[in-house]
């Protein structure tokens, strides 16, 4: 939708980094606020190094200034990471806002006539008329009419969708464009509450609230900051006792090095980027909490049709009965499906074609196509010579044959049963009053689903398939797809009951749905992904809406939720592990005069005390921008068991976090020495 990191976004983020320096904003992030206060104090100490007493050399101001500048940069880097994460959302929000402005609506007056009003004047319950070419002014429910709608403004999907009164496809979204016909829409939201408004708020991050987990982490970080504040504050009197004196700028440098600035600076960027990943995935999450909850899901409830299977049954076998051969059966079957545009019908023609039976439509242009109806439960062709060819449900065909005086072949029942037992749907084929055989229609599991479910199992997530099929069919599909459990002949209440049962055991449940009768279950589930094509009720009940209406995306949402937590955990661990090296840099430097023997702790052999302190501080600052890409992209998530993932991440971010700064600080020290600035 929007380019990842345009120049414009970067420029604005740079500006925002400075705007965010406002202490009233900074105080919300205690870790970085401490750094900002440190920068302010060292600025004062640059002007007057003796501000808090003590005797200093003539160049102390230069050191204080260096510390001040690095601290300021540290804060700015943190602000920049947040701003850049927000930037993408802001750009997106702007383009959405453009869709919204200047919208007009034809509102129906009580007397039945229409008046032209701005869209912002529309209230819940108003009825508006939308004609082809107009933009739908507000979210609503189609009261009458049917038409095709271009939803690309919201979903980015250019293929138009059909919206019409009644049923599950009656909801329309403000900002989308009606391409054909005319609709009468009842407005369902007040201004400011529409889907578009919510989406703008969301992508802008305006409505972003800290998630429970982020809150817990913030508490831990604030606690660590407080501990280090005590450690550093008490260090001065202790040093004083051993006749050492530590200048304030050095103390501040040590404090800033120790407090978890890396994660403190990147924490909100990680959260925003996580939400942004969800949005780029074309899913609107109503809260960050929902995304986080997705990472914790224990049970995934998926509808069979459209989610696990491709939604259409396809012909996979021809099973002739009586004395008929497969070829005869195929000829009749193809004839019955020749003008049948349903996927089932087409699959019959295709399968027969593969087996060498082809027929041209042109030869039968004078025959009449009989479409499937719920009454007859069969479809077919009336040939010009009066012969009727039909295919349909086996019992319907049986009745049809008996009525016409035909007889039922003895092996029909056996073959039908076998297909049903294997989870397929049998379609009987008849020509005149003679049954030729049965077409084996099979539910096709979407390619790759088996692997996905295996991944989910590794992540510890149980999958449950819901289907209206009989238990036999359901079991077969469940086995083929590799789901852990299934509910056959499921009614909406069954889904609800399953969710409640799982939740009673303390599990978190995710499901997707689109129909109005899914709404209660969507609301009950911890993660409810509603399809954008679904009803307003479903979209309101769920805590996420998938604009592409692809229920399998639940699986990706789970991964994004996990990735969000992992990124936070990894950078926190890295941040804390970094402290070890910083101690080895700063402590010997601090006590160089009072306790010279502590120089054995200077295992990095840093050039001078000041250079050691500045190197640690510079490392502390530049690690933030270096990690921005990781914060934005998220730590790579692979579905492996919890323990092996822990080992992997501890190795990378824990042990790596201990080693990297030793190397980094040493390199910076060498650079400082080379620049001749190690002795300021």
């Amino acid at each position: 939708m929007i380019q990842t990191m345009s120049k414009e976004i970067v420029n604005r983020a740079l500006m925002d980094s400075f705007i965010k320096l406002n202490p009233r904003v900074m105080v919300k992030n205690p870790v970085m606020f401490v750094v900002e206060v440190g920068a302010a104090i060292t600025l004062l100490l640059t002007v007057d190094p003796g501000l808090f007493g003590g005797q200093y050399g003539p160049h102390q101001w230069a050191f204080n200034l260096a510390v001040c500048i690095i601290l300021l940069l540290t804060v700015l880097f943190g602000n920049f990471s947040e701003a850049i994460a927000e930037g993408r959302g802001k750009a997106q929000a702007e383009s959405l806002r453009k869709t919204k402005t200047d919208l007009m609506a034809h509102r129906r007056k009580p007397d039945g006539t229409y008046e032209l009003v701005p869209a912002t004047a529309l209230r819940k319950g108003d009825t508006v008329r939308v004609t082809a070419g107009e933009v739908i002014p507000s979210d609503g429910e189609v009261v009458s009419g049917i038409g095709s709608v271009d939803e690309s403004a919201i979903t980015g999907e250019s293929a138009p969708v059909i919206r019409g009164a009644g049923g599950d496809f009656s909801s329309v979204t403000g900002g989308t464009k009606l391409l054909s016909d005319e609709l009468l829409v009842r407005v369902t939201v007040d201004p400011g509450e529409s889907f578009l408004d919510k989406m703008i708020g969301l992508v802008e991050g305006a409505s972003r609230q800290k998630t429970p987990n982020e809150l817990a982490l913030s508490v831990l970080l604030a606690g660590l900051t407080l501990i280090f504040l005590i450690v550093v504050d008490t260090l001065e009197p202790m040093a004083h006792y051993v006749r050492g004196s530590i200048d304030v700028a050095t103390l501040i440098a040590l404090l800033v090095c120790l407090i978890p600035t890396t994660i403190g600076a990147l924490l909100s960027a990680i959260g925003i980027a996580g939400m942004d990943r969800v949005i780029r995935f074309n899913i609107i999450a109503k809260s960050g909490k929902a995304v986080e909850a997705a990472g914790d899901v224990n049970t995934l409830i998926l509808d069979k049709t459209g989610t696990i299977t491709i939604g259409n049954r396809l012909a996979t076998e021809f099973s002739p009965v009586g004395s008929h051969t497969e070829r005869e059966l195929m000829e009749v079957a193809v004839l019955s499906s020749l003008f049948d545009e349903t996927p089932e019908g087409r699959s019959v023609v295709e399968l027969a074609g593969e087996k060498g039976v082809r027929m041209a439509r042109e030869a039968y242009m004078d025959s009449e196509n009989v479409e499937f109806s719920a009454d007859t439960r069969m479809s077919g062709l009336d040939l010009a010579n009066g012969t009727k060819v039909r295919k349909g449900a086996v019992d319907a065909i049986k009745n049809y044959v008996l009525q016409r005086g035909g007889s039922i072949p003895s092996d029909l029942d056996a073959k039908t049963e076998r297909i049903a037992r294997e989870g397929g749907t049998p379609l009987a084929v008849v020509r005149g009053d003679e049954v030729y055989g049965v077409i084996y229609l099979k539910d096709i599991v979407k390619p790759g689903m088996r692997e996905r479910f295996a991944e989910l199992r590794k992540m510890g997530i149980k999958t449950v398939m819901c289907t209206g099929d009989n238990p036999l069919t359901a079991a077969t599909i469940a086995r083929e797809a590799g789901v852990d459990d299934f509910i056959a002949e499921a009614k909406p209440e069954d889904k609800m009951r399953l969710i409640q049962e799982e939740q009673a055991q303390g599990k978190l449940v995710a499901m997707s749905g689109d129909g109005t009768n899914d709404a209660p279950a969507l609301a009950q589930a911890d993660v409810g992904l509603a399809m954008n094509t679904g009803t307003t009720a479903a979209k309101e009940a769920g805590n996420m809406v998938d604009l592409d209406s692809d229920p399998t995306k639940l699986i990706e949402v789970v991964a994004i939720g996990k990735q969000l937590l992992i990124t936070r955990g990894a950078i926190t661990t890295f941040s804390i592990a970094n402290d070890v090296a910083k101690y080895f840099a700063i402590i010997p430097a601090m006590f160089v005069q009072a306790i010279p023997s502590l120089k054995v702790l200077n295992i990095m052999h840093l050039t001078s005390p000041h250079s050691a302190i500045l190197s640690a501080l510079i490392f502390n600052a530049i690690i933030i921008p270096l990690l921005i890409p990781l914060a934005m992209r998220g730590v790579r998530y692979r579905p492996i068991s919890a323990t092996s993932m822990l080992v992997r991440n501890i190795f990378l971010y824990g042990i790596g976090g201990i080693i990297v700064p030793f190397a980094g600080i040493k390199v910076i020290d060498l650079v400082l020495a080379a620049l001749g600035s190690a002795h300021i």
Binding site: V231, G460, D579, S597, M645
Partner: protein
């Protein structure tokens, strides 16, 4: 270091951990209300006490209701002890004519005993009467029992599924005496008497020495006091010299018994925890890691003390191990082990003078206290272990992409808030008073050693008080109004802040549903997790205390090795 010495250390540690297994199982049965073959003795006794206190043993309490009597009993018993020690000079059982304590000292001692610290700013022989010592023994029974039941309440909360009930304080409290502390102490006291520890109400003995001089040898009901001082991780001894005194710890055998008494409570709690969460594997893993930390620390002390002091070697030509402040009847290995165990279990009893340890040898007990989890005190040690478990689970839970959970209970911001509060309390009560002491005249004037070692003494003192240990670097003169008052407050905060925070966590965990284990659940009973837990403990401890340790024992050690005399 000798092979024999190493084997001595390892075998005593093995005994401590081995006895913990049946004892922990027994304690689990006690606290979950199972019957024992001594039921006919226990039940009527307990019923008598229930009636005495006027409680319904069937009543259930949530964490707040459970906490209230803990605080109430603490307060009442502390006041009782304070009053006794203020007045004991005028009360009976004072054959040696000792005086009552002045107010600050009585406050410090009362705070010290109720927190199981047993920091003693007095010498037992002259600073206490027999009645005063008996009052101390009473507190030595009550104080650890309070810590034990707090841990039991926590374990119940952890095992709950959406129920606020964490048990009945009075039932747990009384059973702790009748079924655990009193029987073990009774048996141990008899054994110690048999091995030569006195137990008498006769005053000090006057003995004519071979040279014809008259020597006064203090004594008293020592054998009655030693078991609870060890088992309850109290550490406050009858004699000023504590367990290095030959009448409190006459032989190597009594020393081993006293070592074991000190260690079995905490190991039993690890075992009991495993029973509560139905994971013996958890106990096994933590046995390995905590035992490993204990062994590692002990070996560092042993190596450092065996190596002796190179300066003495160069300047005075004295070679061999550092025997200053150690008893020859125990030798270097048992003394090293005692130092590590008394510090790790927050007991504070000593069989050697810690002030005389080499700097590195003195660093280990400080580290064992600061890390809080090298066994820790009975009950409260387990709470510290769990506190770090919560922090570790939180960090590693994030790293596997799930809201962290501990034994099926989600760790959310309330738990983290409380765990951070518990974690925060020690730097506050340790570092701030240390800083105040070294920057004020009144603090500095108590130091008998100048320079870095003087600093180490103060650091050790507040470490000992914060973690309710009670051992000391004896060079510090602690009986001043400053150390008495500040120390008393430090000890109280050190014990109760974390105890209250942990009970509050228990309360909030108790109400949470138990999440069933799945492949995505982070297992806490694996070696991998054990390693990470140790790393978190060590890194948090090191980051908090490294600067202070660097000025004290680390700098001292570097100076000693490089042959410099302290400034």
């Amino acid at each position: 270091m000798t092979f024999e010495g190493i084997m001595q250390i390892l075998s005593v540690i093995a005994i401590i951990f081995a006895i913990g297994i049946p004892l922990g199982g027994y304690m689990y049965r006690v606290y979950t209300g199972r019957r024992s073959w001594l039921e006919p003795v226990f039940v009527p006794t307990e019923r008598f006490f229930y009636r005495l206190v006027g409680v319904n043993p069937a009543a259930q309490m949530d964490w707040r209701a459970y906490l209230k009597p803990i605080l109430l009993v603490s307060f009442v018993v502390m006041m009782f002890a304070y009053a006794m020690w203020r007045l004991m000079g005028h009360l009976p059982l004072n054959p040696d004519g000792n005086k009552s304590m002045p107010p600050e000292l009585a406050f410090n001692t009362a705070a010290s005993f109720i927190t199981t610290t047993n920091w003693q700013n007095y010498g037992g022989e002259t600073g206490m009467t027999y009645l005063g010592q008996l009052a101390a023994i009473v507190v030595q029974f009550v104080a650890p029992a309070l810590g034990m039941v707090a841990a039991v309440a926590f374990l119940r909360g952890l095992a709950n599924d959406r129920s606020s009930n964490v048990g009945n304080f009075w039932v747990d409290f009384i059973k702790t005496f009748t079924r655990i502390l009193i029987p073990i102490c009774l048996v141990s006291a008899i054994v110690l008497v048999g091995l030569g520890v006195p137990d008498t109400f006769l005053g000090a003995a006057k003995v004519h020495t071979l040279q014809g001089a008259v020597q006064t040898i203090s004594r008293g009901p020592v054998a009655a006091q030693v078991p609870i001082m060890q088992l309850g991780n109290n550490g406050g001894g009858w004699f000023n010299a504590n367990l290095s005194h030959p009448l409190a710890d006459p032989t190597a055998l009594t020393d081993v018994i006293e070592l074991v008494l000190m260690g079995v409570g905490p190991t039993a709690f690890l075992v009991m925890f495993g029973h509560f969460i139905r994971s013996r594997k958890w106990t096994a893993i933590f046995y390995v890691f905590i035992g490993g930390m204990l062994v590692a620390g002990t070996m560092v002390i042993y190596a450092s003390e065996s190596a002796g002091n190179p300066i003495l070697h160069h300047v005075l030509g004295v070679t061999g191990p550092n025997m200053e402040g150690k008893e020859v009847r125990f030798g270097i290995p048992l003394s090293s082990l005692f130092v590590a165990v008394t510090a790790g279990t927050d007991t504070g009893a000593v069989n050697a003078m810690h002030d005389s340890l080499t700097p590195l040898g003195g660093l280990v007990p400080m580290a064992n206290m600061m890390l809080m989890v090298v066994l820790g005190g009975e009950g409260v040690g387990l709470l510290s272990i769990i506190m770090f478990l919560i922090i570790t689970v939180f960090l590693s839970g994030l790293m596997v992409g799930r809201t962290p959970e501990i034994f099926g209970k989600k760790i959310e911001s309330r738990e983290i808030k409380l765990a951070v509060l518990a974690m925060l309390s020690s730097p506050v009560t340790l570092l701030i008073p240390t800083a105040i002491a070294v920057m004020t005249k009144t603090g500095v004037s108590s130091m008998e050693n100048p320079g870095l070692h003087g600093f180490s003494e103060v650091l050790y003192a507040f470490t000992s008080m914060t973690f309710n240990n009670g051992s000391a670097f004896g060079g510090l003169g602690g009986n001043t109004p400053f150390f008495n008052l500040v120390g008393g407050v430090v000890m109280l905060l050190g014990r109760y802040i974390s105890m209250i925070a942990m009970l509050a966590i228990a309360g909030s965990l108790a109400m949470k549903p138990r999440i069933p284990v799945s492949a995505g659940t982070l297992k806490t009973d694996t070696f991998t997790f054990g390693w990470i837990w140790v790393a978190v403990v060590v890194i948090v401890g090191a980051l908090t205390f490294f600067p202070a340790l660097a000025i004290g024992p680390i700098a001292e050690q570097i100076q000693m090795v490089s042959g410099h005399l302290s400034q």
